[in-house]
Each structure stands twice: as C-alpha cells, then as structure tokens.
C-alpha cells in the first residue's frame, strides 16, 4: 500500500476546501478606534473574534482597525457595536460610560492616559 497516493487525495481535498473558503463573499473596511496600548489592541481585536470576521488588526500608531469580514454573516454596524461593548469609541459611535469604566487604568483614552513604556515598539 502506498501512502503517497492517499496523501495526494488529501492534498487535493484540502486545496478545494481552502479555495472555496477563500472565495466566500468578503469585504474589508478600515475605521478609527480610540485606544492606547497593547492591552487595548488585544481587547479590540478580541472583541472582533466572532464568526464572520476573517481578520481584524488594530494599529496602535494610526488608531485604525482594518477588518475583513463576510457581509452575509455580520454587518459593519455590528462590528462597531462589538468594539463599543468592550469600552472603545469608534468613528461611528461611543461606548457607554459603564462600558468605558471597565477599562484598565492605563487604557483610559478619554482622560488622555498614556503608556509611554510601549512607545518603542
């Protein structure tokens, strides 16, 4: 028995699945999210860790988040709401004061807190 031929089938199957996946309806947007440090980055990207989002990447310097998502599964408005719910303001709305109060001290962007120790990254 040769495992090589079986491996070929597995590879083909894998490639077909991957191609289908890659072709699903996807959109990408970029918008501003207030935040300061690496913790904020984890929080923002963590909030977008939901079905429908392919990739979410927040940039600390530009404060911009770029999201690739499947428009059939999730809407742009829902993306904003997810970020508000963890306490971060976006270009399309603000987090409630209660949600904001849950942030760690050094992430209180409305008070102008800063994490100078992360500048070098």
């Amino acid at each position: 028995m040769s495992y090589l031929s079986e491996m070929k089938y597995a590879l083909v199957l894998f490639a077909v699945l991957a191609a289908q996946w890659a072709n699903a309806q996807k959109e990408s947007i970029t918008f501003r999210v207030e935040g300061i440090c690496g913790m904020c980055e984890d929080r923002i990207e963590g909030a977008l860790d939901v079905p429908g989002v392919v990739v979410a990447d927040w940039d600390r310097d530009s404060k911009m988040v770029s999201v690739v998502y499947r428009s059939k599964k999730i809407t742009e408005q829902e993306l904003h709401e997810l970020i508000h719910s963890v306490g971060h303001d976006t270009s399309a709305g603000k987090a409630t004061d209660e949600e904001y109060a849950g942030l760690h001290g050094c992430c209180k962007y409305r008070e102008g807190a800063s994490c100078p120790n992360e500048e070098k990254e």
């Binding site: 597995a10 440090c37 120790n117 070098k120």
Partner: protein, 775 residues
Amino acid sequence: MKSLLLIAGFLLMSSQVAAQHVKGKVYEEKGGFELKHLPMPGAYVRLLGSESITVTDAFGVFELDGVQMGDTIEASMVGYEPSGWVWEGRGFVELVLRPGVALEAAEVVAKQRSTSLSLMSPLNVQTLNRAELVKAACCNLSEAFETNASVDASFTDAITGTRQIKMLGLDGKYTQLMVDNMPGPRGLSVVQGLLLIPGDWVQSIAISKGAGTVSSGYESITGQINVALKNPTNADPFHANIYLNGAGRWEWNHVSTHQVSRRWRTALLSHALMNQRVNDRNGDGFLDTPLQRHVILRNEWKFTGDRGIRGEYALSGATTQLVSGQTTPFSEAPWNQLPTWMDQRTFSEGSWVATSLIDRLEATAKTGFVFPAAEWRSIGTQFSALRHASRHNMGGNAYDGVEQMFRANVLYAGRIGNSNHRFTTGGSWVFNSFDESAAWNDTASVSWNRVERVPGAYFEYTLNDEARWNVVAGVRYDRHNLFGGFFSPRFHARFSVSEHVSLKASAGRGMRVPNPLMEQLGPWASRRVWWTWDRESDARVPLQGLNIRPEVASNFGLNASARFKLNHRESSLSIDAYWTEFEERLVVDYDFATDAVLVYNLVGTSRSRTAQVEWDWSMHRRFDVRMAYRYVDAVTDRIQPEARRDPFVSKHRGFAQLSYGSRVRENGSQWRADATFQWIGTQRLPSTASNTEPFRRPDESPDFAQLNLQVSRDFSSRASWYVGVENLTNVRQDRPIIGAGGVADADFQRYFDASLVYGPIFGRMVYSGFRWKVS
C-alpha cells in the same frame, strides 16, 4: 533619659540624610547567556511610598529628587519584572529590567507563533517555544522533535528503545548539541545524552541548519541545536508535571524558582521516570519497551549584579538504569537481579538480557560582564566540567566507558566604529579523556584510552547593514594534541529582497573525533562483532587495529524564506537546500556480513544532499496548518560498492500538522488540539541475504505513515491536562528482531540481530498528563 537620647539621635540622623538628588540608568536585559544590556527609554522610575515618579529618556537615564537613605527606587515597565534598589547614598544608580512577569492585570500577551523562523537572522534558525514543545507531550529531548520537519528521530535498536536524531540526512552526532549555549550531549553521551534532558525542563529549542557560529567550538557539521532550559529568571515559581502512558511509563517533572536575595535567584529542577511494565505486543518473546528508572536533578543559581556583572552557575546529576531483553526472567522484580545480570557474559546462561547504567555529573559556570558605559562591549567566561560513566551488558557483549571533560571559554564582544560592525573573539581550552573497554562474548575485546587537550582561538565578525544585509563570518583555529591543527572557517549571509522575502547562504567546515563504540548502539543488541578493514591485505582485522582519525566535513546551504498573506491571514514559506561533503569519515558498515559491523576510515566519497520545503499558514483564528516535505540523498563509498546508499535514511518524508486552539477565556482556560501526520518513505536496510529463512529481511523497508493526536485542556493559566495518542494507525515494524520467537538455540546464537530498526515497535500508545504551576 535613654529615650530622650534616642530621639535626639534620630533627629541628628534624619538631618544628615536630607532628601537628595539621584541620577541613574535603566537597562533592559536581552538574550540568553550572551547577555546584552540595552538602555531602556520610557521606563517608569518611582520612589516607593511617595508620589515621586519619572520616565527615563531616550538613553535610559533618569533623575529623581527627594531620595532619602533607605528609600526604594523602583523601575518598571509593562512586560518586564519590576526591579528595585534600596538607596544607600550613591549618586548614580543602575537598574536592570528583565522580561517576564508583568503586573497581573496589565499583562500583554502577544500572539506568538509556536514555531518561528527568523527573516532577520543570517543563520537559518527555527525556534520551537513552549507552545510547540507541549504539542508532543515529549518526555525527553530525543522525543521533542516529533512535531518538527527538519529533524528526524529514529530508534537505534529494538531493545533499549533509545531514539537518536538525524539532521540533513546525517546522524545526530554531526549536529552540535548545546544546552544553554554550553556543550550538550557529545563524546560518549552523544546518543544517550538526549535521554537525560527532560522535555518539561526545556524552555525553547533553537535549530540552526548549516555551519553555525565558531564561538562554541569546531564540532558543528550539519548544524547546531541549542536547548534553553528553564532557568531561575524565566521559569514560574513552581511548575509540576506528571505523565503516564499506555506502556506503563510514568514520569514526574518539577521546576521551582526562588529569589534568595536581591542579587541571587535559584532554580531547582527534578525529573523521575519509572517503567516496570512488561510489554510484548508482537509476541516475539522480547520486551517492546525497556524497563527503566531515571532520576535527574539540576540546581542553577543566577547572579544579577548592579554593575553589569551577571552569572549563571549550575550543577546537574543523572542516574539511569535500564533492563530489557527476553521477557522470561521478568516475572520477578528486575532491579533485584540487576547485579547478577551486569556480570552475565554468555548467551547460554538462560535468557538474553540487556542492562544499561548511566551516571553523570556536570557543573557549569558562566559569568558575564557588560561595560556600563558601553553596553555593546562585554566579556564572558564559560567553564564546564563533567564526568559521564556508562556501562552496558547486552547479552554477552559488555561495554564500560568513562568520559571526563573540562572546558574553558572566554569571549569578548565589541564593535568596530559603530554598531553596524560587531565582533566576538576569544579562546577556549578543552581537556577530554576517554576510557573505554569492550568485550564481545569473550571472543574479541578492545580497550581504548585517549586524552585530548585542545587549545583554540576564534574571531567572528558580524555586519548588520540596516535591514538589507547581514553577514556573520568567523574563523577558528584549534590545536589538537593528537590530530594536529584544525582550521574551521564559517560564513553566513542574509540578503533581504524585500521586507517579506529573504535569502540566506551559509558555508562552513567542521571536525569531530568519533567514539564509534557509543555512537552506534544498534550492533550491541546483536550477534555482530566489531571489526575494522585492512586496506593492504583487503581483509577484516580486529577492531584494536583501528586508527581513529577525526571526521572532517564541509557544509554548504541556501535558503529562501517568504512571509505573505493568504486569504488575509499570515503565511510563510521556507525552501532550503544543503550539501554536506566529507573529507574524512569513520564509516560504519553493516553490509559486509550479518555477523559483523565494520568501522573504517572513508576511502572515496561520502556526502548528503537535502532539500526541504515548509509551509505554514495561520488558516483561521483557531486553526494553524503546517506542511513540509524533505528529500535526502545520502551516499557513502563502502567496501561493497553496491551498498552505496546510506542505510536507515528515508529519501522522502512528508509532514502535515493541523492545530486548533479555542478562544482563551478571561481566566486563561482554553481547549487545544493537534494532529500530526508523518509519512516516511522507504529506507535501505543492510542486506541479510546471506541468512537462511526465516532470518532474512527485505533489503528495503516499506514506506509507512504515522498519525499522532493530542487534546489539551487548560483549566486556567495554572492547570492543564492533556491526553493523546501516538501512532494512532498502529503501524509496527514487521518482526523487528531477527532470531526472536522461539527458535533453536544454535540459530539464535548465530542470527540474533535487533539493530535493523526502521520504524515503530510498540504501535499505538495512549498517554495522558497533568501540568500545574504557580505564577
């Protein structure tokens, strides 16, 4: 009256130590032993118990007002351990921040790949960190490479269950193994030394293919593997692990660290292994897995001085016992009979039994000094001393070997002009003594003693031209007391085509002195007697006549690595090709006859050419994929010209891994699962055509595939439990031991051979374990 005096005294003192102005500098500690201390800008510096706080400038310098005698100055930064200093009056204070424990609430966990390949280093280095190492619940270093495509692991024989590694198509002995950048398994421990490094002690493994750097010696031929053990500064205060597998082996591992004083930290590491279960699944009358006991301990002390002095001092000891062979004598506790078996010399006394004992003691000391005013300049010293004793009895074959080693190495690092041009230079002195004696069924014996004294010097230059170019060029010269001078040049270069694509090239030459008796464990578990070859009379002669010469080889390599986005997600592709060409080699020849193993110096050519493609893709937020293929063409000229292809080397090997990690909850809990698939192509096996049936085996092994699965559950960041299956498809080598399974005594004596192992013997194995830590 007395109290009045006291009060007066206090008043006097406090007026003397009025608030003062203090300057200082904060450094960041980087790297393993070759510590770098870089100034750290932007760190917070505060006076504990007061409002006074400041931030360091671009050079890491700070100034504080209002400091009083006995106040604590503390430097902190997210992602680093805060470091404190009790002020005793000096005007300039230095503080060092070590990466590690952050404030619990403010912890920043960057998503890090479990296996990373560097686009920036000129060396082709792949680093396996803890996240990768826990994928194979590896028990010791020889089993830690199961999820890696660059390193192959195979059994040395069907008796002892010892695994050895191969890289670039050549045995692990041609790869320089280091532990914390100091000499690791080598000499007499080159194969079995890997068993003495427990997997749970390992923090990370760096696999560097190609020549390697010159600062750690001349022995690297196919590459360098550096194992970084958990140490007093990077390990958790307490970590424990228990492991149990379906073969009846259980293990205990523990690592604990303790801050002894402001400058000293210590770590204690322990490992115990026990297997008393008799397994004979293939019913051939021989144990599939050996019965064994291991105890390994290590204690390390780390010194962090205030003026740039760092030190790491460690003592480790190991003792192991192994019993294997025919199952009949194991109805009773084997350990009681160990002394008898150790003296057994012939086949006829009942059953065939193998015993193996190792005792090892090792001490290492590393001290480094970084010039405070010029952090690019440093001096380091490394000392190591060890005694390794091993004793085997395999049926009637007996071996006794003792190695002692002392090594001193001094390194000086500096720069030429600016920091684009750096260099490391230094010298080393090695004393190494070997004392070996061996006997084969009272028919042949050999006794070898060798004392090596090798002074050497090296210089290595590193060019770091911003982002585009990196060059590491080194030369080293060693003067061996037995074999004369040896020159080893090594060269590595990286060129970045773009930000995401880099090309690397390497070339280098290495040498090693072989210890054939301990590098080949297989023939001990057989009726093969060791011989050497006499070119003049064209006949085999007893091993005593072997003229041991060092093995010398050159290695050339090319690598291309790229990082790109695939379906918007990170992916990387690495392609490399390596060529190793021997000038001198001690050939081990199983092909001449089935009752002999011949070792002789190479006449003709011996080379290994390999190519490898590895693709990684972070396919989904929860799934990672890795696929790899590697090709090896390894040939050596032997006495019989038709036996040119190296045995036990598979030309093709395929590798695929799918990893899943669920979303990490607030409390750190997570599910993880990994499936690793391996396909190993056919291997040439030494010919057994001259045997009669049923003692013949095919000249080529069948190809086979192996699947490993593991599921881990982290209950929190502190406790996790894992369960897995190795070799799920239950692939086993057909009749691995020639002469096993109730044959006539005369046939057994004539044909017995357990050295022709190409695949798994035990088959499917379930295991489970638990890890717990205090952080």
